[in-house]
């Protein structure tokens, strides 16, 4: 049987790759996708712990995370569209109106 730490290590690796993509990427849509990757990594550890403890509440939390991710994707992509409409770019370095 696979130890639960294998699943948790996979979750940690996916999360850190998501963090790295969040910092390194310059396209605003790809930054958004790396946030989704981080949420998926957390979901994997929720499900792994639900299996170990034999408690299905973890699945309910995954369900809530998915609902919030869907709402976040809808609102965030609308913001991206309106940013593109006013500034004609998707590069986050060029969206710097609030910078001193």
């Amino acid at each position: 049987m696979v130890p639960v730490s294998f699943y948790l290590v996979l979750s940690a690796i996916l999360f850190t790759v998501g963090v790295a993509a969040f910092i390194y990427k310059r396209n605003i849509i790809t930054i958004f996708m790396s946030i989704e990757l981080m949420l998926n990594a957390v979901n994997l550890s929720f499900v792994a712990f639900a299996n170990v403890r034999g408690n299905v509440s973890g699945h309910v939390f995954v369900f809530f995370v998915m609902v919030v991710a869907a709402a976040e994707a809808a609102a965030g992509l609308a913001i991206i569209i309106s940013v593109f409409r006013t500034r004609e770019t998707l590069n986050v370095d060029k969206v710097n109106l609030l910078k001193l």
């Binding site: 730490s5 699943y7 809530f64 709402a71």
Partner: protein
Amino acid sequence: MVHYALFFIFAIVCVGGALNLLLQKHPIQSALSLIVVMGSLAALYLMLGAEFVAAVQVIVYAGAIMVLFVFVIMLLNAGEEEHTKGSRIAMFFGVPAVAGLVGMVVYTLTHSVERDIRLGNFPADTTHTISMLLFRDYLLPFEITSVLVLIAIMGAVVLAGKEKH
């Protein structure tokens, strides 16, 4: 033994897809590799006995959310991203920092939890148990998320709608 083999196959596909998301230049290729990550995560959920979560993962994440992403990428005609000074600094300091973070997290996890994943640890009617929990114990959070989704829909319509002059 089969469990080990399946775990490593899907874990390698998962990490490969995530690294491909990081390394690809074009956003549409990043989106497609994220779909690969989500599909293999659904297989891992099935191995953990979470068939409801696996189905929702494929339908909601790989289906609805990623279609929305691909749609926006094509709508805005996003091209290859250009890298600036800031991203090179992030690469220079970020890669060692990420390697250190992975090492630390892996060390902590492998030295703390020592229980095994048992296939079929759940009763056969997991979906039934989830629905009982969701509509009885977690009824209030469930209703609050419905309000949240409603607000998100209205916000999306207002933000992306046509501006009046």
